[in-house]
Symmetry: C2
Subunit: 63 residues, 2 copies
């Protein structure tokens, strides 16, 4: 399986947002992360970068 | 390996941009896609959505 871990990028660190992320879809004012288990999380941010071989998705908050 | 295929989303279709994408990193005015083979492609766009279990990354052009 090729799900990834999503991290929220902060000024000096990264915070674990969600594990086993399958889809990330745009939604009003942000993005919705959905895991392979069906867990969902809405974030007022955007997909900043990807490192897929490392199974990592980096998210940044707007503004 | 968990690389993905990147598609450019157009109004009514999707165009194959790059296969075996490993990293996608922001760069002035767009994003740079790098494949597991080291191929690179700069796109004046952003990461629109992800479907990781399906190994798909969707890119949209700015504006």
């Amino acid at each position: 399986m090729c799900e990834a871990t999503a991290y929220l990028m902060k000024e000096k660190s990264e915070e674990l947002l969600m594990e086993a992320v399958d889809t990330v879809i745009p939604e009003d004012g942000g993005i919705r992360l959905v895991s392979i288990f069906g867990d969902q999380k809405f974030i007022k941010g955007y997909i900043y970068s990807l490192s897929l071989v490392n199974h990592k998705v980096f998210i940044k908050l707007h503004g």
